[in-house]
Symmetry: C2
Subunit: 271 residues, 2 copies
DNA sequence: CCTTCCGTTAGGCTC
DNA sequence: GAGCCTAGCGGAAGG
């Protein structure tokens, strides 16, 4: 009942050849996917599939070869061989079902709120890979709008010499929140709106709403400054129209200020 | 100079064990990635990496195990073991460089406009997979805003009894395009704005701009109807303020109408 | 090239 | 949970 070493090697090679030509055995593929899900591993399945989505919208994608990625937290992604975005997906928390239906492998990802179903029918599985990935690293993003604000609070002259921030995230009636509220060297109130990209007419209008809210509250119209790396051409006329000032401020410049600030902190507080 | 069959098998198994414990040989991994890029295949690399991004913003992600996916069109995705979104990415058209730097594998994806660099340093490569995927299928999405418009054109009573659409995508001066322009049962002009999600104050304002544009053109103010599944609380007061009417219309209801329409077509024209 | 608008936007925050 | 805003938003369509 025992076979020689060569026998097993040849069996494996035959199996390999069958897999390359016809795809994996679907039952085996399904088992492997299930095992990956149980272990909360990252499951990558390559194969020829149809995809049905029904939920907030609905979509159908005919048969074609793609990558299916299922993560341990229930995120699901389907990637075509081109394009940055997944063609179909399901966010974290989806419940995954795997079953064999005749000669097809069926994978469903369901979510309750909003109620959505993603159904994938594999006609052929080329490959299933399981990855147990360990990733505890912190993701640090710089030069967000939030960081630009922190840079201004740390170094108010980024807006203008003598500018003194008084409050950040000040509520402006029901218009929203003012990014930075302060006073200039002459004691005038100043409302600052920050954008990390070129300012649009909408941005100017929002700033004007803040100005009007402050005017209603204090009976005096504050200066309005929009701090952004640039301004859309169409928005330039709005500036003059509403007496809004523009201050060029790039995310990069802010990042430099913050780096310098952190450097100082380290110097002051020791290593 | 020849070895027995068993010798080679043992060598392969030893290599496999080394790979499982220590990761792939980096030079070999790099060569495989290059081969995949040359062949415009989908390249999937699992491994322990650091990631640097510098462009519109900048980010740093410390060492950890992730999946790197590079597609034939130059799209790059880095996926952590959790979450629906890639932690870092580069859109299609990026130029990919692969090189060995000491005992690290370096992969860079560059883009010119905007100038952005994504730099990935692999400290350990667990696996490299190449997939030559063929996918020519068409992606069909339903219940978009466009489809809601088609449903209204097919079944105008979705807006109100007696409504007659005259034009879709009518230009409204320089304000943009009116979704549906028509007349009601009493011959009044009607401007309809469609949203597949709850209507906002901005949506109401846009509709009012259309109304004013039509009023300038015809010397008569048209009725304004916003058709959406709901309306934001803050936008309710804007309705009365500008005399805009709200008609509840969900993407789902529109999808049903379109399905029924297609069903009728089939019935009328035969199978 | 630039702008505007849509998206199964997602994700984060507040209430 | 609903409501609101931001995003390295991406992508498409129009000028």
């Amino acid at each position: 009942m025992t076979h020689g070493f060569e026998y097993y090697v040849k069996r494996v090679m035959f199996r390999l050849a069958v897999t390359v030509l016809l795809g994996m055995d679907l039952v085996e593929a399904g088992e492997k996917v299930r095992a990956g899900l149980r272990g909360r591993e990252v499951v990558v399945v390559a194969g020829s599939m149809e995809v049905f989505y029904e939920g907030r919208a609905s979509s159908y994608l005919g048969e074609g070869e793609r990558l299916l990625i299922i993560k341990g937290d229930g995120s699901v992604l389907i990637h075509r061989p081109h394009g940055y975005e997944p063609v179909n997906w399901q966010p974290p928390g989806s419940k995954i079902d795997v079953k064999i239906d005749g000669d097809k492998l069926l994978i469903e990802a369901r979510r309750v709120s909003p109620r959505e179903v993603l159904r994938i029918i594999f006609h052929r599985v080329l490959d299933v890979r399981l990855y147990r990935l360990v990733d505890e690293a912190e993701f640090a993003m710089h030069a967000t709008e939030e960081e630009m604000k922190r840079a201004i609070l740390m170094e108010p002259s980024l807006i203008e010499d003598g500018f003194k921030p008084m409050e950040d995230e000040r509520r402006a009636g029901d218009s929203g929140f003012i990014d930075v509220f302060g006073v200039d060297s002459r004691g005038n109130m100043v409302v600052v709106e920050i954008k990390r990209r070129n300012a649009t007419t909408e941005d100017i209008k929002q700033l004007v709403r803040y100005v009007e809210s402050v005017e209603r509250e204090f009976g005096k119209r504050p200066r309005a400054i929009i701090a952004a790396p640039g301004i859309q051409k169409a928005a330039v006329r709005e500036l003059a129209l509403h007496g809004v000032e523009f201050k060029c401020l790039t995310p990069k410049r802010c990042a430099e200020v913050l780096r310098r600030g952190r450097g100082l902190d380290r110097f002051i507080q020791g290593p």
